[in-house]
């Protein structure tokens, strides 16, 4: 078989070839490094082009979301909040995808397909399934968004799912993604959450509770910690014991988050940009080996941030990152707000990304909650 035609490669990527042809393409990719490199390069072009197109959409200001509903009282946290921003559920187009902005930044920040074609797929932060899932979110299996998606506006269905995998790592990643999609459990609560105790206002640490409250999200995380300890022996006894003590058994939960030792408190970690940010809450799932003394924060590119997180990243939908920072195993996406820096910290936790949103002092509770819900 001669080398693959570029159009065929893109059709394969888009899931637009039939099974026999796919088999031929896969067989060829398995035996032809040149075409595999072109395939990876094509993934890069496809994803970047899509990111550029999506970046044309207007930005919905975060303030809109918080203005859309009254500031929730503490009691109201226990019930699902209305979906932020999406005032007209069927449309969704005022929602800019922040990850698209990052893709755009990635192009500008020196991502060069031609230089490293073989790494294109892994450097592009988003697995292709995410891009296939639609315009709004790299999280393909987010139930609320999927439920509200207009069929006319949804992205190409399963375009990447059927694409041949060019590398074992990629195959592995896709297999995991598929597994997570088919998991009936709410398996994407990759959150770092506060324990269920009162937060010292006005500071805030927000868990990605999606439609649940932060308290509920915290519960999920802690339960997951227990489940992980039981199932995978991933957690340290200390963390699991804390989770056990706080919440009791969580057998049967399949969610996975890191269950390692609690991260240090704010004061230990220090740093100018953390002044005014709350760090006095127990973190259930911080990287175990984190040591503030020998971890220096430094600014990195978007691409480096993605690479540091193993080929993925979480962003806040609708906000444009001001900068990316690396501090040990933690990647920090910093956003500017009128209240000060809003920081989305994230780190690799096994197969998943754990994250934690650290809001600036003085930010209204409803804004914080809205930001937290828009982490994608």
């Amino acid at each position: 078989m001669s080398h693959l035609d570029e159009g065929l490669i893109h059709a394969a990527l888009d899931g637009e070839i039939d099974a026999p042809e796919r088999a031929r393409v896969e067989a060829h990719l398995a035996s032809c490094p040149a075409c595999r490199a072109r395939y990876d390069e094509a993934i890069g072009y496809r994803d970047l082009a899509r990111g550029l197109v999506l970046a044309l959409d207007p930005v919905a200001a975060p303030a809109t979301a918080s203005l859309a509903r009254p500031a929730p009282a503490a009691a109201s946290l226990s019930r699902p909040a209305p979906a932020p921003v999406r005032a007209r559920p069927r449309q969704g187009w005022p929602l800019i995808v922040a990850w698209a902005a990052t893709l755009v930044a990635a192009v500008g920040l020196g991502y060069r397909l031609g230089d490293r074609p073989a790494t294109a797929a892994s450097e592009l932060a988003f697995d292709s399934r995410s891009l296939a899932a639609g315009n709004s979110s790299p999280v393909a299996d987010e139930p609320s968004r999927a439920a509200s998606a207009d069929p006319a506006t949804a992205g190409p269905p399963a375009e990447a799912r059927s694409a041949p995998s060019s590398t074992p790592a990629r195959r592995d990643q896709e297999a995991k993604a598929v597994a997570s999609e088919t998991d009936p459990a709410p398996s994407r609560e990759e959150v770092a959450a506060p324990p269920p105790r009162a937060e010292p206002a006005p500071f805030a640490r927000v868990a990605a509770g999606k439609d649940e409250s932060t308290a509920v999200a915290a519960r999920v995380v802690a339960e997951n910690a227990v489940a992980d300890r039981q199932e995978d022996s991933m957690g340290t006894p200390a963390a699991a014991q804390k989770a056990d003590a706080r919440l009791g058994s969580a057998a049967g939960r399949r969610n996975r988050v890191a269950a390692t030792a609690p991260a240090p408190m704010a004061d230990e970690r220090g740093g100018e940009s953390t002044r005014g940010l709350t760090r006095d809450l127990l973190k259930l799932d911080g990287p175990a080996a984190f040591n503030p003394a020998d971890q220096r924060r430094r600014e990195i590119s978007a691409v480096a941030a993605i690479a540091a997180l193993g080929g993925s990243i979480r962003l806040i939908d609708g906000l444009v990152p001001a900068r990316f920072e690396s501090q040990g195993e933690i990647v920090r996406v910093v956003y500017r707000t009128g209240f000060g820096p809003l920081v989305l910290e994230q780190w690799r936790a096994g197969d998943l990304l754990a994250h934690e949103l650290v809001a600036p002092t003085g930010a209204p509770a409803d804004s914080i909650q809205a930001w937290g819900k828009r982490v994608r």
């Binding site: 059709a11 969704g92 187009w93």
Partner: protein, 166 residues
């Protein structure tokens, strides 16, 4: 408006506006053109609505572009429209400039390539793209491959220029 067209309107209005906005950068025009598309649908209800609606929208755009050229009117294709919602304090990045660059990069593509890209971003599969643009299905992969490459390369070239200039 017939019930059928009303349903189409509810189902496709936003997608059409979005695509037209991506193409023009002008929300008002996008809305006007969308209205025009549906007024035509009222006059001649389509059998296969989605490709039909988008094809009409793209034809209107092309028509408008040709008229503008004939009259020597300069379309404000690069005008970065402010979002209808008030910009938040965090919207401090040079987003407008980036959007203008993306739009310029998009303008370097041929109509066919650009439209294939926009339709694909709307979730059209190859059959639908082929049907909307009047192309052979077998040509869509090549069209998209070329469109993607050109868009990214054109954007990158502009981004590089901007960095050198600054």
């Amino acid at each position: 408006m017939s019930e059928f067209v009303a349903e189409l309107y509810a189902q496709y209005k936003d997608a059409l506006e979005r695509m037209l906005y991506r193409r023009t950068g002008d929300r008002e025009r996008a809305e006007e053109l969308t209205q025009e598309v549906f007024s035509r649908a009222v006059a001649a209800p389509p059998r296969n609505p989605r490709p039909w609606l988008f094809a009409v929208a793209l034809n209107l755009l092309r028509e408008e572009g040709r008229k503008a050229t004939r009259h020597g009117r300069r379309l404000e294709l690069y005008r970065g429209e402010q979002p209808t919602t008030a910009p938040g304090p965090d919207d401090l990045f040079d987003r407008d400039e980036r959007v203008a660059q993306i739009r310029q990069a998009l303008e370097t593509l041929t109509d066919r390539d650009r439209e294939a890209l926009l339709l694909q971003a709307e979730g059209f599969n190859y059959d639908e793209i082929a049907q909307t643009l009047g192309l052979a299905r077998g040509a869509i992969g090549t069209t998209l491959a070329r469109a993607r490459r050109r868009l990214v390369d054109a954007y990158r070239a502009r981004e590089g220029t901007r960095h050198v200039a600054s």
